[in-house]
């Protein structure tokens, strides 16, 4: 079983195999358990990457310090989201929003999506990465539309069309990179291998590289949800099943961001090429402030948090755009914290929406009174995402703001403005959700809060104490990002 000795093979093979299995298995109970199990094993395999000797970068796959962070996070949130999904989906079946056939499809697609994302993160080949991102995108398109309501179809459709254009732009960028690299690295696969590209980045024609980066930034940026390319994101989050919203916000955005980062590193390694920093800073700030303003008028709780994801992607892209060890560290940390927190928020929002039977913000009131555990869980999540300590997001915002202010005061002020605007909007809504006289039914929730509190526990811990090994890791990555 030499095949299984390499964690990479498990990380990629297991989701595919489970997808095939789940596609034919009837019975949602078993399926959801298999789903969880598959995700757990994938996660363990990903975790094992820390301990096994890393294979040398190949034509197709690469494990390095950058993507290992992403892949562990990805599989972990995939696992917790699957756990959440198990308790969530039972309820959906109960109230008849989903049929068993669709559930089978849902579970299969879940694994396909995980496969796509893991593949994107592990690939060393820019073509393969593109394919993987598209697999992940298309599988989520199908998941978003799974409820078959008008709204869901509309959202899926919008996602699909905008996603397709994004795909096309990213592909064009990828072709351009190949074209630029081909004279240096030779024809065929070698010119598509990322490690090669990075190694010879300085010899590559900067003009083509610049052009390519514009396309890649916009193409993958569409997936990241950067304004003004974000339009698919709020609706896709709002209309799909909540576990998918959690995965979208927590993972897919990261995967797209990861792709942007890989190309940013190539750009940074080329002395003649355009500095990607200002571009990313601008897009980050635009996304941040735009999303922060959009938060105020939301009426749907999931759209609210979807816009908050745009806002945070803005902050992260801003941090990476600033560069330097502190900002990069902060960007990475923020990304991890955002994934954990936002998926936790979506977990709790899923329960809330099921209990209250609505996603309308105006109809969700007094949660701390009717469901203390859920209410305070949601509160912790929202406070964390708003950047309040003792949660991890605070630490990263602290680093971004302080390190930026002494370098670029004006940018830091804009950043602070955006953060504050978002803060005001999120807190306004949170006050409504968790306080006041409870509305609607007061039935207890039978859902499991373990994933929610597991995430929040991690976020809390990170806000106060980061293990030294993890920090060293992050710092190494931050240096890698330049």
């Amino acid at each position: 079983m030499a095949f299984l000795s390499d964690p990479v093979h498990i990380i990629l093979g297991l989701p595919l195999a489970s997808a095939a299995l789940l596609a034919v298995l009837p019975g949602y109970r078993l399926s959801s358990r298999i789903n969880i199990l598959a995700c757990l094993i994938t996660f363990l395999a990903a975790f094992a990457l820390f301990f096994v000797e890393r294979p040398a970068p190949g034509t197709y796959f690469l494990v390095d310090e950058l993507n290992i962070v992403f892949i562990v996070l990805n599989t972990f949130v995939g696992f917790t989201a699957a756990t959440f999904s198990a308790s969530y989906i039972a309820h959906e079946l109960e109230i008849g929003r989903l049929t068993p056939a669709y559930l089978r499809f849902y579970h299969a697609m879940y694994q396909v999506m995980m496969f796509g994302m893991n593949l994107a993160l592990l690939s060393n080949n820019i073509g393969l990465m593109w394919v993987a991102v598209e697999i992940a995108t298309l599988s989520t398109v199908l998941m978003v539309g799974i409820y078959r309501t008008h709204e869901a179809l509309e959202a899926a459709w919008k996602y699909f069309i905008l996603g397709s254009v994004g795909i096309a732009l990213a592909l064009f960028g990828t072709i351009l990179v190949y074209l630029a690299a081909q004279p240096v690295l030779g024809e065929g696969q070698p010119a598509m291998i990322w490690t090669n590209l990075l190694l010879h980045a300085n010899d590559i024609d900067p003009a083509l590289l610049n052009l390519a980066f514009v396309f890649l930034l916009l193409g993958y940026g569409t997936k990241v949800g950067l304004a003004p390319l974000h339009a698919w994101l709020p609706d896709a989050h709002a209309e799909g099943p909540t576990p998918i919203s959690a995965v979208l916000s927590g993972l897919l955005l990261n995967v797209a961001l990861y792709a942007v980062l890989r190309f940013k590193m190539i750009m940074a390694a080329n002395d003649m090429a355009l500095d990607p920093g200002p571009l990313m800073i601008t897009m980050g700030l635009v996304s941040l402030i735009f999303a922060a303003l959009m938060l105020y008028r939301r009426r749907d709780i999931k759209r609210l948090f979807a816009y908050s994801s745009i806002e945070h992607m803005g902050i992260i892209v801003f941090a990476f755009g600033m560069g330097g060890p502190l900002a990069n560290f902060a960007g990475l940390l923020h990304m991890v914290m955002h994934s954990l927190t936002k998926s936790a928020i979506f977990f709790s929002v899923g329960h809330v929406a099921q209990i209250k039977g609505t996603q309308k913000i105006a109809e969700i009131r007094g949660l701390t009174q009717s469901h203390p555990l859920l209410g305070w869980g949601l509160a912790a999540g929202v406070l964390a995402i708003a950047g309040l300590p003792p949660f991890g997001v605070f630490m990263s915002e602290f680093l971004v703001v302080t390190s930026t202010f002494s370098r670029e005061p004006v940018l830091a002020l804009l950043l602070v403005l955006g953060i504050l605007l978002a803060f005001g909007a999120l807190l306004l809504r949170l006050t409504g959700f968790i306080f006041g006289e409870p509305t609607g039914e007061l039935k207890p929730s039978e859902a499991s809060y373990v994933p929610l509190f597991a995430h929040m526990g991690l976020v809390l811990m990170a806000g106060i104490y980061l293990p030294g090994a993890m920090v060293a890791w992050f710092q190494a990555v931050a240096r890698l990002l330049g």
């Binding site: 919008k158 069309i161 905008l162 254009v165 994004g166 732009l169 003009a207 610049n210 052009l211 514009v214 396309f215 930034l217 916009l218 569409t222 003004p228 390319l229 339009a231 698919w232 709020p234 355009l274 571009l279 735009f290 303003l293 959009m294 105020y296 008028r297 759209r303 007094g366 009174q369 406070l383 708003a386 300590p389 003792p390 605070f394 630490m395 602290f398 680093l399 703001v401 302080t402 202010f405 002494s406 370098r407 830091a412 002020l413 602070v416 953060i419 504050l420 803060f423 005001g424 807190l427 006050t431 306080f435 006041g436 106060i464 104490y465 980061l466 293990p467 030294g468 993890m470 920090v471």
Partner: protein, 670 residues
């Protein structure tokens, strides 16, 4: 165990007490247990602080492997920390004692108990923190926990609004602090206070840091125009929490300001200090005028907190002005005055909020116009509140006067400053401070006169019962503090000397050597004051006069109805109301400063309907800044909201336009 470890341990225990409180589920005696434990831990903090002021444990520090990983969490124990630990421990301890009694009446204990001790712990951590990250972390946790406490009675719309405004202001403050620390730390992230102390900052940057600190710490402390959360949040919280927030938390905010501006930053350009002084003096006047207009007892107290914060900021501004000119003795005087007032305000404002809490418990009312006559029904509470009211009105021989007197002495030193601007602005600010002091006396005559004296305005007030002994003991302790600190100000000043010395490398002359507990800030020929003698003289002459009159003249007494001007059986409603009492002052100051407008609508002749008198008074900063800001955000967001409802084609257009913009940019970049 060193001092810093002891304090850290205590703070940690306080923080841990919160989650432990969850176990009790608010049943039975759990609230008494939690409050007693908090009180004891606070006592530990106060004692370590006192020991620190005596020189024990100063300079100890500790690095914990928490917080920013490559740096750790730094904590240190110095004189400034020690002083504020005394303020925190003393105030927190007595408030916890009060809470043992007061907390019994809480109908939602589980919304208070888990947060209350943790709030105390977080404040202690703010005082101990010695790097920017730990400081801000504790600072924000402190805000967050007090936010949860403000929302104890979350069913009330007012409380929710208060909580929201409070937390948004706290967020704003933290962002300002974040920026300030960003400047202090520099691009390489030298976040330890020790590193910041060693760095020289260019003058303009120093002023920028000062400005950001005014925004950051000022918004937490209640400096106008950032004070708007205070009158919302304090009445909404349970009274012991209000006492803690008003009496102690605002002081922690001041600690942040002092720590950065006096300790980490070094002297700031002299022209920045008149701004601070005027801001402080203006805040004082605005705060007390608003207090004068307020009918809600706790809200009026909250506004009065704003006034006192203004006074303290003015004193700190004076200290900055003197320090910038190298006038160490004068700076020490102003700084001592500020510290003294910080301590005093902790004492009397906590006392007054406890009194308000007792009244609230006894009558269920916060509206002054519903109270009245409490001096008969709640004699002890009324007496103790009277002491607090006298102290806050800066009447000798109580402590409020001692600190205000020092501030005026500092104001009188301003002619020695070389700059004409400082010379001229400070007397004007002194005038404003005098105005604020006079208004404070008027304000507390009004509060006490309408709320506690006269005849009851309502059934609830007529049937009020005296509160429990524990609460009374707590209040009595603070009242005694007010008196003692007023009679022996020299002792307090000497105790604070190490702090002043640490911040300014200079101090006031030792006061313990003076006879009759006199304080002499500069020289005897200049000014002196003996609180003890004033107290003794007044007490002696009053009792001598009373004895003599009763002995030699007459001691007969007869009760009779009050003179009714020929209209017998006047209803208690004919008494002067809170609004009526404020009317002369409103006419004089409010029309211009607060935009007070009165309209009287008379019924047409022959109509027997009532006439209507309407009064509009508002906080000018709320209407002028915050409402406009909210309107602007609403406007922008409403306009922008259309972007959520575009067609797919338009979204594609957005993508297309971004692409074109980037491509054109790329073209031009070459």
């Amino acid at each position: 165990m060193s001092a810093v470890d002891l304090c850290l341990l205590t703070a940690g225990l306080l923080l841990g007490l919160g989650p432990l409180a969850l176990l009790g589920q608010g049943r039975g005696r759990s609230s008494a247990v939690v409050y007693s434990a908090s009180g004891l831990l606070c006592a530990v903090l106060a004692l370590s602080g006192l020991a620190g002021l005596g020189g024990l444990g100063i300079g100890t520090s500790r690095v914990l492997p928490l917080g920013l990983p490559w740096m750790g969490a730094h904590f240190a124990f110095d004189a400034l920390t020690a002083f504020f630990l005394v303020v925190l421990g003393f105030g927190g301890g007595i408030i916890s004692l009060y809470a043992i009694g007061y907390g019994r009446h809480e109908h939602a204990p589980m919304r208070v108990l888990p947060f209350y001790p943790a709030f105390l712990g977080a404040m202690a951590l703010v005082l101990l923190a010695a790097d920017a990250f730990s400081f801000l972390l504790s600072w924000e946790v402190m805000s967050l926990l007090s936010w949860a406490l403000v929302l104890t009675h979350h069913q009330e719309e007012d409380a929710r609004k208060a909580g929201y405004v409070y937390l948004v202001m706290a967020g704003f403050g933290t962002m300002s602090l974040l920026l300030a620390f960003g400047l202090l730390a520099g691009p390489d992230g030298a976040y330890q206070f020790d590193a910041m102390r060693g760095t020289a900052h260019p003058p303009l940057m120093a002023v920028a840091i000062l400005g950001l600190m005014l925004l950051g710490a000022g918004s937490k402390a209640g400096l106008a125009p950032l004070h708007v959360w205070l009158p919302l949040a304090h009445p909404a919280a349970p009274s012991h929490v209000s006492a803690l927030m008003s009496g102690v938390m605002t002081k922690v905010a001041l600690y942040g300001f002092i720590r950065v501006v006096f300790d980490l930053l070094g002297p700031v350009a002299w022209w920045a200090s008149p701004v601070v002084i005027l801001l402080g003096a203006g805040t004082a006047v605005l705060g007390i005028l608003l207090a004068m207009m307020e009918r809600d007892l706790k809200r009026a107290l909250a506004y009065s907190t704003i006034e006192n914060i203004g006074v303290i900021f003015a004193a700190l501004g004076l200290a900055m002005a003197f320090r910038a000119n190298g006038m160490t003795a004068a700076a020490a005087l102003a700084f001592t005055a500020a510290l003294f007032h910080i301590f005093n305000h902790m004492a009397f404002k906590s006392l007054l909020f406890m009194g308000a809490g007792s009244v609230l418990n006894a009558t269920g009312l916060r509206d002054l116009d519903g109270l009245g006559g409490l001096i008969h029904r709640m004699p002890v509470t009324s007496f103790l509140v009277l002491v607090g009211a006298m102290a806050i009105s800066a009447l000798p021989p109580l402590n409020g006067f001692a600190s205000e007197w020092l501030i005026f002495q500092a104001v009188l030193l301003s002619p020695d400053a070389p700059q004409a601007a400082v010379q001229m602005i400070i007397p004007a600010a002194g005038g404003l401070l005098a105005l604020a002091a006079a208004l404070a006396a008027a304000c507390f005559v009004r509060i006490y006169g309408v709320g506690f004296l006269g005849r009851p305005h309502s059934e609830a007030a007529a049937n009020a019962q005296e509160v429990d002994r524990v609460s009374l003991t707590a209040m009595a302790l603070l009242a005694a503090t007010c008196l003692l600190a007023g009679i022996f100000p020299g002792t307090v000043i000497d105790a604070m000397a190490p702090v002043v010395d640490a911040m300014l490398s200079g101090r006031l002359p030792v006061q313990a050597d003076e006879t009759w507990f006199t304080i002499i800030p500069i020289a005897e020929s200049r000014s002196s004051y003996s609180g003890m003698l004033v107290f003794v003289f007044v007490a002696l002459s009053a009792s001598a006069a009373a004895w003599a009159v009763h002995r030699f003249a007459s001691d007969r007494l007869r009760r009779a109805p009050a003179w009714d001007c020929g209209f017998p059986d006047a209803s208690p409603l004919t008494q002067y109301s809170a609004g009526g009492f404020a009317q002369p002052i409103r006419r004089v100051y409010g029309t211009d400063l607060l935009g007070a407008r009165e309209t009287v609508t008379m019924p047409p002749p022959g109509d027997t309907g009532p006439a209507r008198h309407e009064l509009l008074v508002g906080d000018p900063s709320w209407n002028g800044i915050y409402l406009r800001l909210a309107l602007a955000v609403t406007y922008v967001t409403t306009r922008m909201n259309r972007l959520q409802f575009l067609t797919i084609r338009r979204y594609l257009t957005l993508v297309f336009m971004s692409l074109i913009v980037l491509l054109v940019g790329l073209m031009l970049w070459r």
